[in-house]
Symmetry: C2
Subunit: 386 residues, 2 copies
């Protein structure tokens, strides 16, 4: 019997408990013995739950219990979650998390701490919820040089854009719908301004390129300025508008990383990623393009990825996975100005830079942002074409 | 320095060598030391290659060299490949392969042999070429009960269908194009009759359901009878025709497994899998639907998956991955007759079974194949709707 603990009983935390219950047989068979949740740490009152006796409010109970070797951190944030994760790792317990903010902000420190104490810090659920992406990228694509990562990493914004594209709902109304359906928070800023997608593309970049990419240094543009007119013009040009997190290797080994709405050709598999789903395209120099698709959020989906990491940590109790990245001192991030793209420009543009035009918009030839601004001025509403 | 061997220098084998060359730096960094290909086993004359000195024709050189701990079997077939794989495993060498026929036919025996000798037998490249699917399904979805696998598993047939759908090319002409482009063999039977897809869905079923599914017992229908008229009628109904390998858990824990052309709704992500690409959708009871997409074949793509397995075998030299399945004695396979589907029927059908109809075809209500035959007779050209 393996004993584990769950820190946090919100959406994902209660899902982690539920997955251990509903799939006890599958989990036990794969692990080789039953896995029991010994503690659930949360300050709130859950005394009416059938497993109320598992709840504790004092973190040190987990920290000091040698029977607990693997802990799920599903509290979120970079406060207590950061503190408790460090203390778990120092106490020789593996930690598995869905906390993208913590991984993007302090991942390199926590991985180093895990290494020093010969335990695992795993975070498959931090990107793409339940979609396998981190492990396949690091293991199955291990024989590749990763050249580009390009994904629809936020389900809330993809839902809003899908409503705008397919039902002609305005941004404001689609956001209200998303909130009513529980897809968006009361304060939707982190989603619609791209901060959530930014943390995820930073984590994938850290892994793929080996050095920390600081979310605070990454250009991040959301979807709040996209209009139904943009959506209609893009459609006429053969594209859909998607919020894309991108990291691209430059020829000098440096990288571009950013979040911005892009025009995506309707023939691209990313264009078929609708509603709250996520799709993450990874380009390797041998494998070409592969894409991982599924629910990027949701209680059971995300929880199942946390539980799979916990099972992996149990299996690797005596042999930690060698995942780590540098502290950012390589300064891999290039200014975005130098990245050439074709651009969508609402309105008109000088013939010299036009590749295609329709009434109301043009697609430019590939060019830098600076060249675009020289040619058409501020170019409000311009978007890169993927 | 780790030393490895490659058995077979065809398309995939030469790709394996090429990946070790082109990505030596990435591979060395991930493994922690350089990896050198010591031998390439092939009976043909490659004396003009820059690495001609690596070639050997006598398998026992590999078998008897204790320095070689990991071997790629990329010969194909179930003759010498089977024999050499067994001898490698018995000699304490891990084997990594793209040989779907061998895995589907003798996988359980080879995995048991690997277990007995505490080495790995890995075969990520046997399904989906370079697309990560086996490892993500087994590891990232480990906390799920797998309920369905449903995939476009053969690039040749998907290319032919894409040409029929988008360019109105007949089956015969599309097949000729595929042969001219090197996507199809001179004898295309294994692809177009679905045998290749059948081996792959059997391997995925073996893994997901834990007992051998014999390719010879799996119903397997190809695409050679699909007409441009079917394609046009499906289009009018809102579908595309795709060759689908499917395995579905029934309520009693048994499974349905089969290969057949299906009508796939245009809104499904599988409908967006075009040309020679593959897409494999896996449904878990916690994660919902996830899809893995990419090039399902191709020299470097497939080779990169073999090399990643070799890197994994090196990393797990002292701790084998616990992959195994039973010998088929659980008899999991259900007769297909009991599986209800909506059906596409060219022509007419009695009103009682019709769900939708257009001029020239109907979509039925969900029903078994037997019920369909009772209602419309032989129903030549009927296809299930996914």
């Amino acid at each position: 019997m393996i004993q584990v603990a769950i820190m946090g009983h919100g959406t994902v935390g209660s899902g982690v408990y539920a997955v251990f219950e509903m799939n006890a047989r599958e989990i036990s068979r794969a692990v080789g013995q039953p896995v029991e949740v010994k503690y659930v740490l949360d300050l709130r009152d859950f005394s009416s739950l059938p497993y109320a006796d598992k709840f504790i409010t004092d973190f040190s109970v987990i920290e000091n219990d040698p029977e607990v070797t693997v802990v799920a951190e599903v509290m979120g944030g970079v406060g207590a979650a950061y503190e408790f994760t460090k203390r778990c790792l120092k106490a020789g317990k593996s930690v598995c998390t869905s906390n993208k903010e913590l991984v993007a902000t302090h991942g390199e420190e926590l991985l180093a701490l895990a290494k020093a104490h010969n335990v695992n810090y795993l975070f498959e659920a931090s990107v793409g919820g339940g979609i396998p992406v981190i492990r396949p990228m690091m293991q199955c694509l291990a024989a590749n040089r990763i050249d580009e990562i390009c994904g629809i990493l936020n389900g809330t914004t993809n839902y809003i854009l899908s409503e705008m594209i397919h039902k002609g709902v305005s941004f404001e109304d689609a956001l209200k719908q998303a909130q009513a359906l529980g897809y968006a928070e009361n304060d939707p800023t982190a989603d619609i301004e791209g901060h959530d997608a930014c943390r995820k593309i930073c984590i994938l970049s850290d892994l793929a390129f080996g050095d920390k990419i600081d979310p605070n240094e990454v250009s991040c543009q959301g979807i709040s300025k996209i209009t139904l007119k943009d959506v209609a013009l893009a459609d006429e040009l053969g594209y859909v508008i998607k919020l894309i997190g991108r990291a691209k290797r430059a020829e000098n080994g440096k990288i571009y990383a950013f979040v911005a709405p892009h025009l995506v050709a309707k023939s691209s598999p990313l264009a078929a990623v609708e509603e709250v789903f996520n799709g993450i395209m990874v380009t390797g120099n041998a494998v070409g393009e592969v894409m991982f698709y599924g629910q990027g959020a949701g209680k059971l989906a995300t929880a199942s990825a946390v539980v799979a990491d916990m099972m992996d940590a149990i299996a690797h109790a005596d042999k930690r996975r060698p995942v780590e990245w540098g502290d950012g001192s390589e300064k891999l991030l290039l200014p975005l100005d130098a990245l050439e793209s074709a651009w969508y420009v609402p309105g008109e543009a000088p013939e010299a830079i036009v590749d295609r035009k329709i009434d109301g918009a043009v697609i430019t030839k590939p060019m830098t942002a600076n060249a675009l601004h020289e040619a058409v001025g501020e170019a409000a509403g311009a978007m890169r074409v993927l």
